[in-house]
Amino acid sequence: MTKSMRKLVASAAGLGTAAFLAGCAKDAPQDTWQPKGSNAQKIDDLQKPVFAIAGVIGLIVIAVVTYVIFRYRDRGQPIPEQTHGKPALEIGMTILPALILTGVGVFTFRTVFDLAKTSDTEMIINVTGQQWWWEYDYPVQEEFGITEPIISSGQLVMPVGTKVLLRETSRDVIHSYWIPALNGKRDAVPGRVHTLRLDADKPGIYAGQCTEFCGLSHANMRMEAVALSKEDFAAWVQNQLKPAATPADGTLAKEGEAVFLNQCVRCHQVNGLLKADGTPAIAAPDENVYSGAAPNLTHLMSRNTFAGATWDLLKKECRDNVWKATPEEFGKKYLAGVSEDCLNQIDLRRWLRNAPEMKPMYADPTKLEPTNGLYRGMPNLGLTEDDIDKLVAYLVTLK
C-alpha cells in the first residue's frame, strides 16, 4: 500500500469512527432516534427494523463484493470461461428483494396513513412560516380555555398527552416544519394548508428547524415545541389571553414604550398598547415586510427565544435550568418566563442595535426593488444606545 493510499484509508476510518460515535451523543436535541411522542415513536418503530434489514443486506453485499474483489483479483491468470444466464439465481434474486420491499412497503404505508390521520385531533394550532420565523395561532377552543384566538411565535406551546394537529401554511416561500422528537417533516406551502400531528409524552422543550431551503437565513429559522402539563398549559393560556401590562409612568420602561410606539409598532403588534391619544396601536407589517407579518410581541418574555428561535432570551445558566428541569419541575420553570436577572441582554441588545448583522435578511434598502421596498426581516433601525436601554426595559415587561 502506498503512502497516499494509507493516508486515504486512515482518513476514511477516522471519519467513519467520528460519524459512528456521533450517533452515541446524548445531548442531541434534534436526534431522530429519540422519539418523545407517539407519532415519532411510530416512525421510530418503522425505521429501526428497516435500517436493521437494510444494514444486514448492506453488510452482506459489502462482504461478498470485498471477497470477490480479493479472491478473483487479476494476478495474471487466464480469463476464465464466460457464462451467461443462471435462471434460478436470477429469479431468486428478483423475488427475494421484491418480497423484502413488499414487507417494508406494507409497514411503511401503514405508518404513513397513521401519521396522516386527523380524525382523532384534540387540539388545533395554525402554523404559518415566513422568512425566517414561525408564527403560531391558536383558534378558539373552549375546552382548553382558549376563549379568544392566541397568537405567538418562536416556541410552539402545547399540552402533554394531547393529540395536536398543526395546520401549516406559508406566507412567502416553501418552508418545512420539523421537530424530530415529535414527528417527521411537513412542508409549509404558500396557498395550501398541510396538516401535521404532534404529541409529546412528557413536559419539556423539543427543538427543530426549517428543513426546506428558504433563502438567506434558512439556517436561522428554528423552532421549539414546548410541552406543558394540562394544568400548566391552562396557566399559559390564561396569561396569553391578557393584554400587555402598561408600565408605570416615570419609569424607564414607560420611555421604552414610547420608543416602541415610534419605531417597532410599524410591524410588531403588542395587544393592549395604546397610542398617545388613547386609541389602540395597530401594527401594519403588511406595509413594511414582504411576508406581511412580524412576530406579535405581547408576551415576548413568556417565551425563551427570539428572532426565529435562533437566539436565547435567557442567559445560558437560566436556559439550562429550564431545559434540564425534570418533567415535574419543567412547567413551573418555563412559566416563570424571562426575568430581568435571567434576560440575555447581550444578544437582545445586539439584535436591537443591528439585527441584519446577526441574521442575514436582505436588509439593504437599496436592494429592495424585487420586493417593492419591503424588508424580508427586521432592518437596522439605527437606534441609539439610550433608545436600546429604554426598549429593553420595556420589552422585559412583556410577560
Partner: protein
C-alpha cells in the same frame, strides 16, 4: 482585393457600427438596441471575413470556359419583398407592432434569400448544380419555417371559425373537420401510389377552405356570448349585490387549484350559516384566518334558493372623510352548489371596529367571524 460580397458585408458592419454609436449617443445608455446593432456589426464583420477568405465562392478566376458557359442570372423577387418589408416597417411604426414585426421578418427573409440566391447563381456554370447548392443551404431553414407558418395559419383560421360559430355548430364543425382529416389521411395511407398532384390538390383545397372559413369567421367576429361575457368581466365579480353576470363560468370553482386546501367550508343549511374548519370535527361560528396570506373557503349552498357568500374585509378611505366597506364575494350559486372564495386579509382583527365576517345577503343575524390573529 475586396470581393463584391465582402464589400457588402463590410459596408453593413460599418453602417451597423455607426448606427450603434449614434444610438448610444441619442439614447445615452447601452441597452437591447445597442446590443442588437453590435451583434449585426460583429456578424457582418465575420461574414465579410468569410467572403474574403473564399472569394465569394466564385469559380476560379481564369476559368474562362465556365464564364463563357455560365447561364445568365435570373430575375429576383427578393428586392421587391425587401422593399415591401421596409414599407411595412414604416407603416408598423405608426399603426401596430405586428405590422412592424412582419416588416422585420420580410426584410430578414429577403436578405438571407437574396444573398444566397446571388451566391448560388454564380457558384458554377451548371444551373442544376447551383440550384442544388442553394437548396442544400436554404431548405433546412425554409421547410420548417414554411411548415410552421402554414400550420399556424391553419390553426388560427380554424380557431376563428370555432369562435365565430355557436357552440353547437362548433361541435359539429369540429366533428366534421376531424373526421374528414382522418378519412383523407386514411385514404392517403391506403393508396401509397396516389399521384402527388392529387394529394397536393386535395390538401390545398382543404387548406384553402379552412383559411377562407377563418377569414369569414374573423370578419364576422366572435359569437355574441363571448363578446358579452368579456364585457361583463366575469372573472372579477366585484358586485356583491344582485347577480348581474350572465355568462360566468359556473364550473370554475371546480378546478383543482381553487379547491385545494381550503381553510374552512361554510355551509348554508336550513337558514343557518355554519363553518367547518380543516381538521376540526363539528361546526364553529369563528374561523381563524392567517394574516396577510391568501386563503380559500368553500361556500356550500344547501338551501333551496340562489345565494352568495360575502366577506367584509374592513374599510377603505375613498375620499377625505368618506370610507367604504371592502367586500369580496362568491357569485350567486344555486341550490346544492358550491363555490370557492379566495381572499387575503392583511390586517389583524385586533383593534378593528367591526369584525371581519362572512355573511349571506338576505339572511339576517347569521355570520361567521373571520378572526385574524
Amino acid at each position: 482585393m475586396f470581393t463584391p460580397g465582402s464589400k457588402y458585408f463590410l459596408g453593413l458592419a460599418g453602417f451597423s457600427t455607426a448606427f450603434m454609436i449614434a444610438y448610444i449617443v441619442v439614447v445615452d445608455q447601452w441597452d437591447g438596441g445597442a446590443t442588437a446593432l453590435a451583434a449585426i456589426a460583429c456578424a457582418a464583420g465575420l461574414l465579410a471575413g468569410l467572403s474574403l477568405f473564399n472569394r465569394d465562392g466564385e469559380v476560379k478566376v481564369g476559368d474562362t470556359s465556365a464564364a463563357a458557359n455560365a447561364a445568365p442570372l435570373g430575375a429576383s423577387l427578393w428586392p421587391l419583398i425587401a422593399t415591401v418589408g421596409v414599407v411595412l416597417l414604416a407603416v408598423g411604426l405608426i399603426t401596430h407592432e405586428i405590422v412592424f414585426l412582419l416588416g422585420l421578418v420580410a426584410i430578414a427573409a429577403s436578405f438571407i434569400e437574396w444573398v444566397v440566391q446571388s451566391w448560388s447563381e454564380s457558384a458554377s456554370s451548371d444551373t442544376a448544380f447551383n440550384n442544388e447548392a442553394r437548396g442544400r443551404l436554404l431548405h433546412p431553414l425554409e421547410f420548417p419555417v414554411l411548415a410552421a407558418v402554414g400550420l399556424g395559419i391553419i390553426i388560427v383560421s380554424f380557431s376563428r371559425i370555432m369562435l365565430a360559430v355557436s357552440r353547437d355548430v362548433g361541435a359539429i364543425t369540429f366533428i366534421v373537420v376531424s373526421s374528414a382529416v382522418l378519412f383523407v389521411g386514411s385514404v392517403f395511407a391506403l393508396k401509397p401510389n396516389m399521384k402527388k398532384t392529387l394529394v397536393a390538390g386535395i390538401c390545398t383545397i382543404g387548406a384553402v377552405g379552412i383559411i377562407a372559413g377563418g377569414i369569414a369567421g374573423a370578419s364576422n367576429g366572435k359569437r355574441d356570448e363571448l363578446v358579452e361575457a368579456k364585457e361583463e368581466g366575469h372573472y372579477s365579480h366585484k358586485e356583491c349585490g344582485p347577480e348581474k353576470n350572465k355568462y360566468f363560468d359556473k364550473n370554475a370553482e371546480k378546478t383543482v387549484s381553487m379547491r385545494s386546501n381550503p381553510i374552512a367550508t361554510i355551509e348554508l343549511v336550513d337558514g343557518k350559516l355554519q363553518a367547518r374548519e380543516l381538521g376540526v370535527e363539528g361546526y364553529t361560528q369563528t374561523i381563524t384566518v392567517p394574516r396577510a396570506n391568501s386563503s380559500t373557503v368553500i361556500f356550500r349552498n344547501k338551501s333551496n334558493e340562489e345565494h352568495r357568500l360575502v366577506l367584509y374585509m374592513g374599510t377603505e378611505q375613498v375620499q377625505e372623510g368618506v370610507t367604504e366597506d371592502i367586500l369580496t364575494c362568491t357569485q350567486m350559486i344555486g341550490p346544492d352548489s358550491e363555490q370557492a372564495l379566495t381572499f387575503k386579509l392583511n390586517k389583524s382583527s385586533y383593534g378593528q371596529e367591526k369584525p371581519f365576517a362572512f355573511t349571506v345577503p338576505g339572511l339576517e343575524g347569521q355570520s361567521i367571524e373571520a378572526y385574524v390573529p
